[in-house]
Amino acid sequence: MLELRAVTAGYDRRAPVVRDANLTVAPGEAVGLLGPSGCGKSTLARVAALLHRPDAGEIVLDGTPVRGFRHRAPREQRTAIGVVFQQPRLAADPRLRLADLIAEPLRATGRRASAADRVAGLADTVGLTPDLLGRRPHEVSDGQLQRACLARALALHPRWLVCDEMTAMLDASTTAALVRVVEDYRASTGAGLLSVGHDRTLLNRWCDRTVPWEAVAAS
C-alpha cells in the first residue's frame, strides 16, 4: 500500500499548499488524481514520491512509515518509487546522453555492470531507437525525451509509479504510447500507479479509479 495520511505540505509553513490530504493506492491499483492547475496536486505527487517533506502527516509505504525524504529517504524506499514529471526538459540533465540518463539510477545503486543491457531493454520497451540513445536532450523532441524519462523511472523495477502530468506536453499519439508502456509494465510487475493530471477523459480511460482533488485534500 502507498498511503498518504493527513498530509499537509507546502513551501511556507504559514501557507501550506496541501492541507490534510488522504489518499491510498493499493498494490496493482491505478489511481488518477484529478485537479485544476495550481491546486497543489503536483506538491502532493512530490510528497508521495518522497521528494518533498510534508509539514505534517504521514506516508506509509508497504506498511513502513517514511521517516526521511529526498536524499534522507532510505534507499529501499526511495528506489521502490519511480517518478515521471510533466516537463521532460526540466527533468533531464542536458549534459547526459539519453543512454546515460536512463542508466543513472542503475549506476547510482551499484548496478553499473548490468547497466548497458538493461538500458537497451528499457529503450526497446519505451520505443527509443538505438541512434537516439547517443543523443543529448537538445537533440531530441519532447516526446522522445519523455520516453527516456519514463525508461529511467522504470530502471529499478519500482513497485510504485508516480506520474505527475506525464503527458501534458505531448501529442495524442505519444500520450497513448507512453500510457501503454506504463500499463504493460504494471501488468507484468503488479506495480501500483498514482497518476496526477487535469485531463478527466485521459485519467478515466487510464486508471482504475479517478478521485477529484476535493475528495483528497481539504480546501
Binding site: 485544476p36 492547475s37 495550481g38 510533466q86 516537463q87 520505443g127 527509443l128 531507437t129 537516439l132 531530441v140 523532441s141 519532447d142 516526446g143 522522445q144 502530468e165 501534458a168 506536453m169 505531448l170 501529442d171 495524442a172 499519439s173 505519444t174 500520450t175 497513448a176 504510447a177 500510457v179 501503454r180 487535469h198 485531463d199 478527466r200 477523459t201 485521459l202 478515466n204 480511460r205 487510464w206
Partner: protein, 305 residues
C-alpha cells in the same frame, strides 16, 4: 519542412496539427523571420502584397512583427519579461507599435488592450510570476493584439494548461477570429483544434499531408490520411491506440512517403512521394470511416497517378 502550401483568410482559423518535432514551429518562425541564420527557406508566404520569406530584417522588424503578424507564444510565462509588470509590457508595446504618445494616453491604451482580452485591470501591476497560467496567457494575447495585426500566429498556445483553461483560451482566440482576424494556430492538442478551427492542416515529417474542413475531419467522414486517422484514434476518448513507431528524422527522410514505415496501408506505390491531391497527400487515402466498415476502409481508393 518542405512543400507546405496553405492559405488563411481574415475571419478564419486554420489549425496546423501534428506530433511534436514534426516541423510545426519551424513554420511559425519562418513566417516571422525568426529562423536561425543557418536556416534556408524557399517559396513564398504572401501577406497582403508582402512576401514574408524574402522580406529583409528591417522590413520584418518595422512593419511585420506585431503590426501585421501578432504572435501568441507557446509559453506566455517564459515570453514575458520576469522583472517587469504587465502594465509595463503593454505600455512599451503600445508606444512601440502605435502612434499613441504621452503618458496618460499610453496608460489608457494599455488598459484598453488589457480589456480586449479581459485581463483584469487590478492585476496589471503584477509581475508574470504572480499570474496564473490563464492570466499570463491573456496578457500575452493582449500584447499580440496591440498592433491590430490582421494575422495572428498562435504557436502551441494551450500547452500545459488544464482543460477548462484550454477551452477558455481557445474561445477567446476564436472571438478574435470572429472579429475579423486570421488565425493560424499551431497545436498538438486535437481537442483544442476541434473547438476552434474552420480548417485543419495535418503535418507529418515536415509536409502537410492533409488539409481539410474541420467539421469533416473531426466528424464524418473523418480524416482521410492514415496518419491523421491514427492521430485522432490515439485520443483517450477514441481508441487510445498510438500510431506505431516513431516519426522519422527530419534530416534524413526516406524517399517517397515519409509515413510509409509506420503505415498499415503501405504498398510498393509508397516508394514514390505522393502528390497532394484534393485534400490529402497519400497513395491510399481512407474512403470510409474505420469505425463503420473496417474491411472496406482497407480497400485502397483508386487514386490517379
Amino acid at each position: 519542412m518542405s512543400g507546405a502550401s496553405f492559405d488563411v483568410a481574415p475571419g478564419e482559423c486554420l489549425a496546423l496539427i501534428g506530433e511534436s518535432g514534426c516541423g510545426k514551429s519551424v513554420l511559425a518562425s519562418a513566417l516571422l523571420g525568426l529562423l536561425p541564420a543557418n536556416a534556408r527557406t524557399a517559396g513564398h508566404a504572401h501577406l497582403g502584397g508582402l512576401d514574408l520569406l524574402t522580406a529583409g530584417e528591417r522590413t520584418l522588424a518595422r512593419t511585420v512583427r506585431g503590426r501585421r503578424v501578432g504572435l501568441v507564444p507557446q509559453s506566455p510565462a517564459a515570453h514575458l519579461t520576469p522583472v517587469r509588470t504587465i502594465r509595463s509590457h503593454l505600455e512599451e508595446t503600445v508606444a512601440h507599435l502605435t502612434g499613441v504618445r504621452g503618458r496618460a494616453a499610453r496608460r489608457a491604451a494599455a488598459e484598453q488592450a488589457a480589456h480586449r482580452t479581459e485581463f483584469p485591470l487590478d492585476h496589471l501591476d503584477r509581475h508574470p510570476h504572480e499570474l496564473s497560467g490563464g492570466l499570463a496567457q491573456r496578457a500575452a494575447t493582449a500584447l499580440a493584439l496591440v498592433g491590430d495585426a490582421p494575422l495572428l500566429l498562435a504557436d502551441e498556445p494551450t500547452t500545459g494548461l488544464d482543460r477548462d483553461l484550454v477551452d477558455r483560451t481557445v474561445d477567446e482566440l476564436r472571438r478574435h477570429v470572429d472579429d475579423g482576424h486570421a488565425l493560424l494556430m499551431i497545436t498538438h492538442d486535437l481537442t483544442a483544434a476541434e473547438r476552434i478551427a474552420d480548417r485543419v492542416a495535418v503535418m507529418y515529417a515536415g509536409r502537410i499531408v492533409e488539409l481539410t474542413d474541420a467539421a469533416r475531419f473531426f466528424g464524418t467522414p473523418g480524416p482521410r490520411h492514415p496518419y491523421s486517422r491514427g492521430l485522432l484514434e490515439a485520443l483517450p476518448e477514441r481508441s487510445f491506440t498510438p500510431v506505431p513507431g516513431l516519426p522519422p528524422e527530419l534530416g534524413s527522410l526516406p524517399e517517397g512517403c515519409a509515413f510509409a514505415p509506420r503505415c498499415d496501408r503501405a504498398t510498393d506505390a509508397c516508394a514514390a512521394l505522393p502528390p497532394f491531391e484534393h485534400t490529402v497527400a497519400c497513395h491510399h487515402p481512407v474512403t470510409a470511416t474505420p469505425a463503420d466498415t473496417p474491411t472496406a476502409a482497407r480497400t485502397p481508393e483508386d487514386t490517379r497517378a
